[in-house]
């Protein structure tokens, strides 16, 4: 996943009709990058047969 530019972030916020200042975007950007970066080591996992665990019922064994 590529890093989001500030311009792209501004567009995303705008398309959601949310007003975020430039200063705020600068503060948020590294936090977003950190979250995505933390996921990166997991992207090599074999997930072919794995469905997302969204709203789920816990398994009863």
């Amino acid at each position: 996943m590529k890093k989001l530019s500030k311009a792209t972030m501004r567009e995303i916020a705008s398309s959601s009709q949310i007003d975020i200042s430039d200063e705020k975007l600068s503060a948020i950007k590294p936090q977003v990058e950190q979250i995505i970066e933390a996921l990166r080591p997991l992207l090599g996992l074999e997930l072919a047969e794995t469905e997302p665990q969204l709203i789920f019922r816990s398994r009863q064994e």
Binding site: M1, L4, M9, I12, A13, S16, Q17, I18, D19, I20, K24, A27, I28, Q31, V32, I35, I36, A38, L39, P41, L42, L43, L45, L47, T50, E51, P52, Q53, L54, I55, F56, R57, S58, R59, Q60, E61
Partner: protein, 476 residues
């Protein structure tokens, strides 16, 4: 029950006296309302105290009991709920200015169930704004303070629930837990906190943080009390699409003093690496004690545990932002800056990252269930340290200093990611005199094994018998 410590009685003890008619629900309620009035200014555990309606409920309970219509162990017992639970005609704020005037037109399912049990609702408890934080410092109604030391954090997000139970301002309380928000305040305030299996307790009428992670559950002063509270609220609810249609046992039955045959699994690589020496020592001693009680101990490995924070963040942030989108558009200035920024962050998590994290989450669940083939309980500390000082204290965990406000949730999130039940209970005190908690996790819908194991340990120790002295609550 000694009148001078009546406020610290367990629900179990109190209910036996109420059933025998030697304690009056009206007098008990009057006494606890007076205690809230006298002490809660410094603690900040309540947002709304429902004195009049509580007394009306207590009078009704007393009348029914006098007439021989005793409903069970919660009848006439004063409890309180986190202020994100709908209460008909009563303001439900989520500790936010956004909802400061929000009055639901109906009760949440759990409130209806408590009313059916005859419980007395004392009021609505303070919390981290919109349940989005683990400290309890961030609330439109002021911070909540730890009754063991007013300078230290109570933990959150169910901060008022932990504080009210620990300080004797309610006999039991309800919290919610998306990443540890029942168990963290339980750990830092020295109470029991029980997050049941995902789907076990209805969330209808409970304002969400993150749909696929949210759980509702009790905080109490004993394991048995937590079981009694869970008895009242567990069970299928057609109004909640995530509610599970499974049988509900009586969680307080079958408790014993020994742990013969119980297999405990210890995931050392994650739970025991980044914690303080005091927490490590307390939980290790607790495991030794459980071994003495007959438990079989073995080490287990869950490779994806190291990544629980990454998976949790990627899933929870967009879910929370999706729920708050309308308020973020119309009244962003009414959020506290901390919670607003967290919600804005969720806008920028790519959908592919969200879906991928949800798939990895299922992998984690598979690894956890593999471990449960060989053990009944997974055990570890609830929080990496005891309660840190308010205002951003760094705590030495392992070999690194960490911002305690962030690290408090590291160890609890696995149970939200997998939906398994987890109970936190006291297992010691720090050198500062602050409680230390450990958590016991079991297979989905096997709360009974977690409760039975926690109860046996509790009966063999005295940690739960210690209570804060509210007259001297600043230590160092």
């Amino acid at each position: 029950v000694d009148a001078s410590v009546l406020h610290m009685a367990t629900i179990k003890d109190l209910s036996q006296h109420i059933a025998r008619k030697d304690l009056s629900p009206v007098e008990i309620t009057e006494a606890i309302l007076a205690r809230i009035d006298a002490t809660d200014t410094s603690l900040g555990s309540y947002i709304t105290v429902l004195a009049e309606s509580a007394l009306r409920s207590a009078h009704a309970a007393e009348q029914e009991i006098q007439q021989g219509r005793y409903r069970g162990p919660l009848h006439g017992v004063p409890i309180a709920v986190k202020d994100l639970v709908w209460t008909k005609g009563v303001v439900t704020t989520c500790a936010s200015s956004i909802l400061k005037d929000y009055i639901p037109s109906e009760d949440a399912t759990i409130i209806k169930r408590f009313r059916d049990s005859g419980a007395v609702l004392l009021g609505k408890l303070n919390m981290h704004e919109f349940a989005f934080g683990v400290t309890g410092e961030t609330s439109a109604f002021g911070p909540c303070r730890n009754p063991w030391d007013l300078n230290r954090l109570p933990g959150g997000s169910s901060s008022g629930s932990g504080v009210a139970v620990a300080a004797g301002l309610a006999y039991g309380a309800i919290g919610t837990d998306t990443g540890g928000s029942i168990r963290i305040p339980a750990s830092l305030c020295g109470t029991v906190g029980l997050k049941a299996t995902y789907g076990r307790v209805s969330r209808y009428g409970v304002i969400p943080l993150s749909w696929s992670f949210d759980h509702v559950g009790p905080l109490a002063r004993s394991v048995e009390d937590a079981a009694l509270l869970l008895n009242s609220i567990a069970g299928h609810d057609q109004l909640d699409p995530s509610s599970a249609e499974v049988s509900v046992p009586e969680f307080d039955k079958g408790l014993s003093d020994n742990l013969r045959g119980v297999r405990l699994g210890i995931p050392r690589e994650f739970f025991f690496e980044n914690i303080t020496a005091e927490v490590k020592s307390a939980v290790t001693s607790a495991i030794d004690r459980m071994s003495d009680l007959g438990a079989q101990i073995q080490e287990v490995s869950i490779p994806l545990l190291d990544h629980t924070v990454a998976i949790w963040n990627t899933c929870v942030l967009p879910e929370a932002t999706a729920y708050h989108l309308n308020h973020l558009r119309t009244h962003p200035e009414l959020y506290t800056p901390e919670v607003r920024e967290r919600l804005e962050l969720g806008l920028f998590i790519p959908a592919v990252a969200y879906a991928t994290a949800q798939r990895i989450r299922r992998k984690l669940s598979e690894q956890v269930y593999e471990v449960f083939r060989n053990v009944d309980i997974i055990i570890g500390p609830t929080t990496p340290s005891s309660a840190p000082k308010a205002g951003g204290e760094e705590v030495l965990v392992g070999e690194t200093k960490q911002d305690a406000r962030i690290s408090m949730g590291y160890l609890t999130r696995v149970a939200n990611l997998t939906g398994i039940p987890s109970i936190s209970l006291p297992c010691g005190f720090s050198s500062h005199g602050m409680p230390i908690g450990m958590q016991l996790m079991a297979k989905s819908f096997d709360e009974s094994t977690a409760i039975r194991t926690a109860h046996a340990y509790e009966k063999a120790t005295t940690w739960h018998e210690h209570h804060p002295e509210l007259s001297d609550t600043t230590r160092d």
